[in-house]
Symmetry: C2
Subunit: 300 residues, 2 copies
């Protein structure tokens, strides 16, 4: 009997968390093609953009155009967009987004550097957005970044994360992504945090979001699955990183994650070849080698 889930659900964050951290700004049409290829690969939940002020994130300035060009999501597919405030929510609503993501961090220092406010202020800022979303029937996910380690203040205690998570749950969030922004989590830290979160809240509310800076993302995902987590954020080809987290390389590659878990007998409903096509497409558009092992094996 396997201790792992029979299937996991992937949240593809390449078009937002991934591309947002690339230096080159891609044309809208390229983003749209990339997202369509991800859908063709079987990805069901895709973070397509962000309604953050384009002054801060110029790579996401065309999110509204991307979503409009995509048109209504195919049956079973959900487009997610990052929303920082009520103004962003109005933009998301206008182009038909059915799920938004709000964000905070478990580190005060990171929150200050990243979004220029305290954790409490960031939660206060998105609280009215949650009310609007409820009224409009729009789903919400909440990001808690730097849940293990902060680039400015070092390791983050699991108690601190638990406090932030409690606040989000009190606000009614049922989809909370726990982010290892710096990639410094290791399986013992993952177990310590998840055991306490799951004991209190069950495993169903949580997705894990690992970066592969130190090569430990897959080990952390296996540990998370062993503890009952079945939702993971990843990016095609291993796109991404974090411009405010020095040294942080990309999200765990969807390609490598799918290869690993399928070989462990865990279903993803993602087609490896179609996914490879999506990753190769965006790698060619960016004209840089992406970190995915699956992609690097193609060039041998």
């Amino acid at each position: 009997m396997s201790v792992y889930p029979k299937a996991i659900q992937l949240i593809e964050v390449g078009p937002r968390d991934g591309l947002q951290n690339e230096k080159s700004i891609l044309p809208t049409a390229v983003k749209v093609t990339f997202i369509k290829k991800l859908i063709a690969a079987g990805l069901k939940e895709i973070e397509v953009g962000s309604f953050v002020n384009p002054k801060w994130v110029p790579q996401m300035a065309d999110t509204e155009a991307v979503v409009k060009a995509l048109g209504p999501a195919p049956a079973g597919v959900t487009y997610v967009a990052l929303v920082p405030n009520e103004k962003g929510f109005e933009s998301a609503l206008r182009c038909g987004i059915k799920k938004i993501a709000v964000f905070t961090a478990a580190s005060e220092a990171f929150n200050q550097k990243n979004i220029n406010c305290s954790i409490a202020e960031s939660i206060a800022r998105f609280t009215p957005v949650l009310e609007l979303a409820k009224k409009e029937g729009v789903a919400v996910r909440g990001y808690v970044s730097t849940a293990f380690s902060c680039p400015y203040s070092g390791d983050v205690s699991s108690n601190t994360v638990a406090d932030v998570v409690q606040k989000l749950i009190d606000l009614g969030l049922t989809d909370i992504s726990i982010g290892d922004t710096t990639g410094k989590a290791v399986p013992t830290m993952v177990a310590q945090l998840l055991e306490s979160l799951i004991a209190k809240h069950g495993s169903g509310r949580f997705a894990m979001h690992f970066h592969d800076t130190y090569g430990t993302a897959l080990a952390n995902i296996v540990e998370s699955m062993r503890l009952g987590i079945d939702r993971f954020d990843s990016s095609a080809g291993g796109l991404g990183g974090c411009p405010y987290a020095p040294g942080a390389s990309g999200n765990v590659a969807t390609d490598d994650l799918v290869w690993l878990v399928e070989r462990m007998g865990i279903q993803t409903h993602v087609g490896a070849l179609a996914l490879q096509a999506a990753s190769l497409y965006i790698q060619n558009q960016l004209q840089k080698k992406l970190p995915s092992k699956q992609l690097s094996l193609l060039s041998i």
Copy 2:
């Protein structure tokens, strides 16, 4: 209470398994300097070369010169050399090697392609070497390669591996390295194999030897540690691979392994900065980027 060992022992295979698979042949003095830097980093068991016919492995033709230039191993340090037959053993003995490694595989197809004989023939070939080693007080480790998957015949069943391991144990071997030559092992396969081996023989006889072709080596190491294994082969910088295994990239990087397990509270007695110096040295000598994440972070 941690389920993991308090400390693990690393067998550094960079100077042999690593360098043997690099295209460029390094000067003897460079190999000697590399090995001395590995010793300075705290590595206690180092595979320094191979007494295989230099016609097959030209990179290892100077092993006798390397060992002689190194001189007697410092207290607590063991030099290991690969030995294919009695002639190789005589060479090893002549330069004062105190531990040899003999090798076979769990896949008939791989054994044929790699050393041109069946598994039974390869064991018969090194059996007289074991007798000589016993007489001379030389320690022996046994390699079982392709223990999960063969590049020619696909996945290898754990029963097949168990049969080969049983033969080595019957011959008196107490240090058996189980090799994931192709890098296609995943934690469920590691658990299936190790649970049966450990149930029958205990965990003390086994070292695990993972390649990071698909990015899963660290996940496999964590799973092995969870099952009680505390000896791992790795190579500085992630040197190596296997010329007979298409697509197989390097051994798991000692640098990344040390970073992970030390952060999990597991001791290695390896100094990260001194190890970095060894890996940077060999990277510069080879004039190619090695796969270690720790090394790649240095160039950001």
